[in-house]
Amino acid sequence: MKDDLKDSGHLFRLAAVFVISGLVFVVLRAYLVPKSFGQYGHYRGNAITEAATRPPHYAGHQTCETCHGDILEKKKIGKHVRVNCEACHDPLTEHANDPASLQPAKLDVAFLCVRCHEANIARPKDFPQVASVEHSTGVPCNTCHQPHNPGIEGAQK
């Protein structure tokens, strides 16, 4: 029996190496794996909050309407009722947060209107489209059409 255990030192040394590496693994793992990993699944839960915390650039039409109710009234009776403010005026969170800091740029009507209303074979047939060259011969669209209520009868009101 004694002879059997005579050379057992190397076994204990090997076991010690295993135990220590196991401990090192457990400690390193606790240190390196983020706390939120596995919160919802096999990914870092905080990645969701990081994705959610970016600030928006488009303020949203609800925000615009809190101040610009007059424009909303105009839009309500016209065909552009469902066109949101920032569809034409571009993202304006900065303006919404501090109206004095950033004044929206004056829009180029000639460019903006044809982007949607220039005749194109792929557009839905019931969508109002014109061949701008023939339709206005270079006269700016807002001579006749008011962008917030583009019907001709709307312009006269």
Binding site: E50, A51, T53, P55, P56, N84, R115, A122, R123, P124
Partner: protein, 243 residues
């Protein structure tokens, strides 16, 4: 320069500190948003799309998408009368500046906006080797930019071609369904900018969302249903020629 034991000993603690910085915990959850009460998707009504490119520009402005890359884009289809299997598709600069008048005559012509389909069984999340891309509990496929290695497996796996490597950050990127907006009660930037209402954000867990009535009363299809991805971007009036 050879790396000596001394160098390694100096290097290891700094590497550990870098790791800790990399894995730093981040801000708390958005208030008033219960992640388990939503299941996000999108409805795209092709009968309303006019190909103005507002969505593409809005997406770029909202999400700082580099030029030449797209989280959403618009395709123009031209299907000739006798060849429905081989449509002509163009998308100049993703449709960002709208579409020039078509040279095509006759046939069937229409626009198809595309974006990440936020699949329920998404191939991209299945292939990610590091758990950097995942489906959030509210049904949005997201990318953890700190974990992504930029290995491009997900780009190959996506059947819809919705992913790209951000040339600046060198990590995979794609539509997040404006996660930073929808968790604040706003709609996505593309839906906000769409002038015709062709794009509508849909919360499939909200019984009052108009999506449910729409799905019941319209001919709605998803892209590539044969891939069994269970996509959540629904197309109304989708033509069979759309790939």
């Amino acid at each position: 320069m050879t790396v000596t034991r001394r160098h390694l000993l100096l290097l290891l603690p700094s590497a550990a500190i870098a790791w800790k910085y990399l894995l730093a915990e981040s801000p708390a959850d958005s208030p008033n948003y219960n992640i388990s009460e939503h299941w996000w998707g999108m409805l795209i009504d092709l009968t309303k799309c006019i190909g103005c490119g507002n969505c593409v520009r809005a997406c770029q402005a909202e999400n700082d998408v580099p030029d030449g890359y797209f989280r959403t884009w618009v395709e123009r289809y031209h299907v000739t009368d006798y060849d429905i299997e081989n449509p002509h598709v163009d998308s100049p600069d993703g449709g960002k500046q709208g579409f020039p008048p078509s040279n095509e005559k006759g046939g069937k012509n229409f626009f198809v906006p595309k974006l990440c389909n936020h699949c329920v069984d998404s191939p991209c999340t299945q292939v990610c080797p590091v758990g950097a891309t995942f489906i959030s509990p509210d049904g949005v496929v997201l990318i953890d930019q700190k974990y992504c290695l930029g290995c491009r497996y997900c780009i190959q796996a996506c059947p819809y071609g919705c992913r790209f490597i951000n040339p600046r950050k060198k990590v995979a990127e794609k539509c997040t369904l404006c996660y930073h907006r929808i968790t604040k009660g706003l709609t996505t930037a593309c839906c906000e900018a769409c002038p015709t209402g062709a794009r509508q954000l849909a919360d499939l867990k909200n019984p009052n969302d108009p999506i449910h009535e729409f799905l019941k009363t319209h001919t709605v299809q998803i892209l590539k249903p044969q891939m069994a991805t269970h996509a959540k971007v629904f197309y109304n009036n989708l033509d069979g020629s759309v790939r």
